[in-house]
Symmetry: C2
Subunit: 278 residues, 2 copies
Amino acid sequence: MSLFLGIDGGGTGCRAVLADAQGRQLGLGAAGPANISIETESACANIVAAARAALDQAGRGNLDELTAVLGLAGANVTASARRLQAMLPFRHTRIVTDAVTAAAGALQGTDGIVAAMGTGSVFAVRIGDETRQYGGRGFLLGDEGSGAVLGRALLTEALRAEDGFAPMTPLLRDVLRELGGIEGVISFGLHAKPSEFGIFAPRIVTSGDPAAERIFAAATDQIREMIEVLQQGRDLPVVFLGGLGAHYARRLAGLWDIRPAQGSGLDGALFLALREGV
Amino acid sequence: MSLFLGIDGGGTGCRAVLADAQGRQLGLGAAGPANISIETESACANIVAAARAALDQAGRGNLDELTAVLGLAGANVTASARRLQAMLPFRHTRIVTDAVTAAAGALQGTDGIVAAMGTGSVFAVRIGDETRQYGGRGFLLGDEGSGAVLGRALLTEALRAEDGFAPMTPLLRDVLRELGGIEGVISFGLHAKPSEFGIFAPRIVTSGDPAAERIFAAATDQIREMIEVLQQGRDLPVVFLGGLGAHYARRLAGLWDIRPAQGSGLDGALFLALREGV
């Protein structure tokens, strides 16, 4: 009997779902991070651990019988994806980016655009069985409108305000106080990971502070322009995912056919695994 | 007899100049990097080595007789500056940022604004004997218009162009080819130091490429606005320093009284040391 495995892996953890050929769920598993561009070996170990846990829960099957689709952060670095592919024990393995599985899960069979707005950001356009990723180029050079990029913009604005280059606002004053003034902000910026910059994002999208509002309005404009480019004059449905997704959806309501997600990235990985055939 | 020491230190090296109370130069010295916010101990060792070399060349004097002013990158992190101050062997030590000594050197006795546009960027306003630094908050959160920030903007634009979010241009195509496509650009961005991003700056300010022109025009606007804030309606002379200084000076010619620098940051450190008195 054929068994199908979906894996959803990223910087914080990886999850596995096992199903039969009819898509009936047989087991779930979870393990540590699986960002393959940073640590391929430990990503591989965690993926296998999550798959084993799903097999254990199902009470049947072996690793080398599985048809697996893995949606992984960092899979756009194809050298790492090739290395991982060679290391994995599954019968058939396909590695795609987490954006591709997120799109498959969110849209299931339909065409559309997915905008995943979390600590990072990435876009995917699904037409027929083809999904193409756009953006998602990382904290320093991309990830437009993401929580980490919004947080960085807030800290930049706080430093500019302290120097008189931008108006001081209550939120900027709070941030400067919380981080210990200019030096504290600089020191935080030297050591913080993207997720730590992202800690400021909820206040940026909800506080109504003038500086936050300016930053979020500029980001919303940028995301609107990017989605317009991806639409290419079409009127594809748009699904916003991630912690900030609902905030962008609210700001951009009415521009396109904005829909809720049909399923998760893990659902999407399994959906694609089932399509890989036996 | 009183001896005065000026030190100019940064991420690539540190230089020392020794003079008598009349400002007559007695000796010069040089040693390795002195960015105190990163490595205070080795910065201290290099500063002392540069000072010893200047004393050797002069053929007289001891470290504990010197009245020293040190202009150092990273001196705005005052905890590091305090630690260094306690470690140094000079009779009298004053630590200021390299922006303060650059301003003192560039303007000598006169009031004015200094805009140092190199790999990083920083501004200083000198009025009477008071010099205040603005900006210079580092690659990630500040350094507006700097070579590193321009380079990062070029790479961001190259990734956006490859995704169709921005127009492709000859320079963007060259950069993508040189770095190995999207993946190469992302990988470069993950590991490159600010100085490595800055390698692209000369092409941005001279190529005439449409993308480069857009990036440099936006940076020039930003620098113009910042200098207007610093002018506060006054008409202070403006000195542009650093590898990109001449390019900004040319773009902004006619807006203010733009002047060449009177002297270097090392000259400025000695100028300030002589003012410290005996």
